[in-house]
């Protein structure tokens, strides 16, 4: 939840708040989860809504861009901070819908059908969106490497 929120453009403190809210909501409304198999999609729906609210609350950042560097927010052995920041910077440049499916499929590792169930679009659309997202991500990555 935290990672997903972070990769969708929230800053670490905002991602923390979002994760808190998702966890609290999940605990309170666990009875609404239809069954174990649908759990991921159910939890993702909560995460998506909470993150969207958070993003709306920081609308001013889109209107008045502030020259703040991206702060590192992930912690894992073997993960270079440089890679985290580069990935987040490239994802931030992608269209939101493309970034969403790319994170779900290539970071989180969900299958095409699972992503389709979570996002609520046909599997074919997921496939084409992932393809476009990968191409766009590669292009951003290459631009970034060239500018280094």
């Amino acid at each position: 939840m935290y990672r997903w929120a972070l990769l969708r453009g929230l800053r670490p403190p905002e991602a923390e708040d979002a994760a808190q809210e998702v966890l609290a909501t999940a605990w309170r409304r666990i009875g609404a989860c239809a069954n174990e198999r649908a759990f991921d999609a159910w939890l993702y729906e909560i995460t998506r809504r909470v993150a969207a609210n958070k993003r709306r609350k920081v609308w001013w950042r889109r209107v008045r861009p502030v020259d703040h560097p991206i702060e590192p927010g992930l912690d894992a052995s073997g993960l270079a901070r440089e890679i985290e920041l580069a990935v987040r910077a490239c994802l931030a440049d992608l269209p939101p819908k493309q970034a969403e499916v790319l994170v779900l499929s290539d970071v989180e590792g969900y299958t095409r059908d699972e992503v389709a169930a979570m996002v609520g679009i046909p599997p074919g659309t997921v496939a084409s969106r992932v393809r476009l997202a990968r191409a766009a991500f590669r292009a951003r990555w290459a631009e970034r490497e060239e500018s280094r």
Binding site: R11, R28, F137
Partner: protein
């Protein structure tokens, strides 16, 4: 990183999550929210699907890779939660650190770089500082003192005439007219003792601000020099001479930079910053 296939790089993030401190804040915060919002208690045990889902919450938390297999214990939301102190409802995030301003307190963020946080405070605030990277700093400037974190959790009350600092965890260095290292349970009070010196302190503050903002470096150097000349025993002389040397160097005035650097090393040979100056100015006897 250049040769890595970018899409493969994405998978490297799969096992990454919030750090332990952030994770604790998330769980504690969620518990607080749950307590606050639950108008009617819901029954956790006895509902098969609910248990399975909650187990998956736990698992997803530890390892988000799908699908979620059966898991051991669901989160204990029914039990009384541990007292939550961080974050408090009014907590403000500065990078990965948390600041809880008291009523009417004014906190100005002067620098929010990952390795260098500088705040200016009027009023009372409590700070929870994450572990700093090597060489990193977290500083709170009040009208009377510069509070520098060496450890982790402390409170600063900056009034009109005095600043009180108390430490709960870790160690904090407080620099007023003199410098003092505080340990847990200790507190100190720094008061205005030299009203006549205020304009010179303002010199130093303005100079550091100019440097931070990439403003007029000539003016910054002039103010730093004036502070250093008028306060040969000033508590912030180390700060002034260090920055003066660097500013002169950036201005291309190498002799003046060396001169300021020598004054710095003469007064503060044990300072951690000495190595920085020596590295930039080999004339000072660099490595």
């Amino acid at each position: 990183m250049k040769d890595e296939e970018p899409i493969e790089v994405l998978a490297e993030l799969r096992d990454a999550g919030p750090g332990p401190a952030a994770e604790r804040r998330i769980v504690d915060g969620a518990r607080t929210l749950t307590r606050r919002r639950s108008a009617t208690p819901w029954v956790f045990a006895g509902v098969g699907v609910a248990t399975a889902c909650a187990a998956a919450v736990t698992l997803l938390w530890a390892s988000p890779a799908p699908p979620a297999p059966p898991a051991p214990t669901p989160p204990d939301v029914a039990a009384p939660a541990a007292p939550v102190t961080i974050p408090e409802p009014t907590a403000m995030a500065v990078g990965s650190h948390r600041v809880v301003p008291g009523d009417g307190a004014q906190v100005e963020v002067r620098s929010n770089a990952p390795d260098r946080v500088e705040l200016e405070l009027m009023g009372r605030a409590t700070f929870a500082v994450e572990k700093l990277p090597p060489g990193g700093s977290f500083r709170v400037q009040t009208a009377h003192a510069l509070v520098e974190v060496v450890g982790t959790r402390f409170a600063v009350d900056a009034g009109e005439d005095c600043t009180t600092v108390s430490v709960e965890e870790g160690r904090v260095r407080v620099t007023g007219e003199t410098s003092r290292l505080l340990s847990p349970g200790e507190s100190t009070r720094v008061c205005r003792v030299e009203p006549a010196g205020a304009p010179e302190l303002a010199d130093l503050r303005v100079a550091l601000q100019l440097i931070d903002e990439g403003g007029a470096l000539d003016e910054a150097a002039r103010r730093l020099r004036r502070y250093a000349d008028r306060h040969p025993d000033g508590a912030l002389l180390e700060e002034a001479l260090f920055h003066l040397s660097l500013v002169e160097l950036r201005q291309g005035r190498r002799d003046a930079a060396v001169d300021a650097g020598r004054r710095f090393l003469g007064r503060f040979p044990e300072s951690r910053r000495a190595a920085t100056l020596r590295a930039r100015l080999p004339e000072l006897g660099g490595p």
